[in-house]
């Protein structure tokens, strides 16, 4: 039998029972659409998050005190021990390299801020003027920390938008004196409200010069040092410079952990990719359900068309040919259902983009191929059993029935 004739024959037998055919098409289409749409959304979310992360600057290098045993720059190194502090002197020494574009030390602690009887808990950040650019912060009013030696503990602060609202309401804050712990400190700037970069809630924070923070928090050690490399290509040289400098200053021990943004980014990317795959697999289950439906319906079709199958055998069709006829039918259903599903999926992801333009939900091409392939695969697999049953029909008994 010629392939085109087989398809034509399948079309007529599918057309013979419209309701059944439409139901199967619907099941397949929904399955494929679900896979396409969910992978699209998953992928869109991944791109969004990775993009947000990347906006922090991929040539950012973070130096954390303490050497983690599980090296290799994975986020697992974030929980290292702290055998020896990083100090402001270390920071200053690290800054002396042409691979460094900007560098800022960072100290973090909890603190109370108070103004005219109102007070609240805030995360206190001790840093320098460079933090503004390194962390892409936006200043709403006033000035940021002054460009001066990091040893100077000038009692000034820059406050987050929410801190400003809650302490001052609509009133002027610039130049006002607030209490930070036991010290008085002048407000010189207010941060913009939108800058919520990953890991830092800029609305709530208060930033002071690093030496002042060390005084407030009563510590010598730094939480970490943020370094922006001159460009991506110099990151490896920068890491070598950091290790060498730290070793020289810490009696031969490279007791710091270096985290580069791209390794964090890669890990995030990997995690989100797996998530997307998981979601796709869950959607894939609906395809299997569609496959089982196809099997059921094909079994019914075989029972209904017993006489026809027996006839084809009497007219010279072998077992393989009978199987091929039924499998063709199932494949045709899957293919058409799959195409409808792809269309629906794309329409859905297009709609999603209209409503959430920030989320690029265009499904990746592998998902399209996988969804369509799975549709054909389940169609094929689940039609084998009914097809085998048909092929084994005894033509005499099949024809004996009216």
């Amino acid at each position: 039998m010629r392939p085109l004739d087989a398809i034509g024959f399948a079309v007529t037998s599918l057309g013979g029972n419209r309701v059944r055919t439409l139901l199967m098409l619907l099941a397949m289409a929904i399955g494929v659409a679900a896979v396409v749409l969910l992978t699209g959304i998953g992928n869109g979310a991944r791109l969004y998050i990775v993009d947000q992360f990347a906006s922090l600057g991929t040539n950012l290098v973070i130096v954390i005190p303490g050497r983690a045993e599980t090296a290799n720059n994975t986020p697992a190194t974030l929980v290292g021990e702290t055998p020896r502090d990083l100090t402001l002197d270390d920071a200053r020494a690290l800054a002396r390299s042409e691979t460094v574009r900007r560098l800022t030390p960072l100290n973090v602690g909890e603190m109370t801020i108070a103004w005219r009887g109102k007070e609240r808990q805030i995360p206190l950040f001790g840093s320098t003027a460079s933090l503004l650019d390194i962390h892409h912060l936006r200043l709403e009013r006033g000035t940021f920390l002054p460009e001066e030696d990091m040893e100077i503990a000038r009692p000034v602060c820059v406050i987050g938008a929410k801190v400003y609202r809650e302490l001052f309401g609509q009133q002027n804050a610039l130049g006002e004196l607030v209490r930070l712990g036991g010290f008085r400190c002048r407000v010189i700037g207010i941060l913009g409200s939108e800058g919520r970069s990953l890991g830092l809630d800029t609305e709530e924070m208060v930033i002071v010069p690093v030496a002042f923070a060390q005084m407030l928090l009563n510590t010598e050690g730094l939480f970490r040092i943020l370094i922006e490399a001159r460009d991506l290509a110099t990151i490896d040289r920068l890491k070598a410079h950091i290790n060498a400098t730290v070793a020289k200053r810490h009696y031969g021990e490279e007791d710091v952990t270096i985290i580069t943004q791209d390794s964090v980014l890669a890990t995030f990317d990997k995690i989100l990719h797996v998530l997307t795959l998981t979601v796709a697999a869950i959607a894939g289950i609906s395809l299997v359900v569609a496959g089982i439906l196809i099997m059921n319906v094909m079994l019914m079709a075989v029972a209904q068309r017993t006489a026809e199958i027996g006839l084809c055998k009497a007219l010279g069709a072998g077992r393989l040919q009978i199987m091929a006829l039924l499998v063709t039918e199932a494949l045709l259903l899957s293919a058409v259902g799959g195409l409808i599903g792809l269309t629906l999926g794309f329409a859905g992801s297009w709609l999603a983009v209209q409503f959430y333009p920030t989320l690029n939900t265009t499904p990746p091409s592998w998902a399209i191929a996988a969804a369509f392939g799975t549709a054909l695969g389940t169609g094929f697999l689940f039609s084998l059993l009914p097809a085998r049953r048909a092929a084994r029909l005894d033509p005499i008994q099949a024809l004996a029935r009216r």
Partner: protein
């Protein structure tokens, strides 16, 4: 053309053995016209199914055109059926969603013949069988006689050597049944070997050679008027 040697076919129904064919030996020459009669359940259909390779003997030998077809595999059986045997059934067995013409061409389609050649070969049959006006109608729009004519055209389109008909008139009135037998006899005159199973003595007597089957055996085999 056909030689059956001691062919038996057993069925077990409810633990009991039924000999539907009991050591039947039968020779049929090319171009013969043969009728098979006998009481219900005597094994007529079983004999016809064995002859048509729809069923295989439990013992004995079947030579078809000098070729031993007793132990062919499924593929070979199908190919032989397609090339040498045409079937006609009591209940026509047309595919309801196909037109008369498509039904007639079905064996050719299954055999992989091109659409153009199928048309070329079905056209003269459709004309000869008086189906020209009805060839684009579906079976449920045809009369019983027309349906059986479509079935006969389907049986002969692949130019078989033998035509096997199991009660071809069983589902038709006298008039239509007579027409169908006329048609089959015409095909026989053109050279086909024709075997007709029937309950109707009038039809059975028309054949040049008449076989009577009783309890799975050939009880009589008579030639001539």
């Amino acid at each position: 053309m056909i030689e059956l040697r001691e062919v038996s076919r057993l069925f077990t129904v409810g633990g009991q053995e039924v000999r539907a064919m009991d050591r039947v030996s039968l020779d049929i020459a090319s171009g013969e016209y043969l009728s098979i009669m006998g009481p219900s359940g005597s094994g007529k259909s079983t004999l016809l199914n064995i002859l048509g390779l729809l069923d295989t003997p439990d013992s004995g030998t079947y030579l078809l055109q000098k070729w031993d077809v007793t132990h062919l595999n499924d593929r070979q059986l199908a190919a032989t059926r397609s090339r040498t045997i045409g079937f006609i059934f009591q209940f026509f067995h047309l595919i309801p969603r196909l037109t008369a013409q498509q039904n007639i061409e079905l064996p050719l389609m299954l055999a992989g013949v091109s659409q153009r050649e199928r048309r070329e070969r079905s056209r003269p049959l459709i004309e000869a069988f008086g189906l020209a006006e009805r060839c684009h109608h579906r079976p449920d729009e045809l009369s019983g006689g027309q349906r059986q004519r479509v079935a006969i055209a389907r049986a002969v389109i692949n130019r078989p050597a033998i035509l096997l008909a199991d009660e071809p008139t069983g589902n038709l009135d006298r008039h239509a049944g007579g027409e169908i037998i006329d048609l089959l006899e015409g095909l026989h005159r053109d050279g086909l070997t024709l075997v007709v199973v029937t309950h109707d003595p009038e039809i059975g007597e028309r054949a040049a050679r008449r076989i009577r089957v009783v309890d799975g055996r050939i009880a009589s085999d008579s030639k001539g008027p």
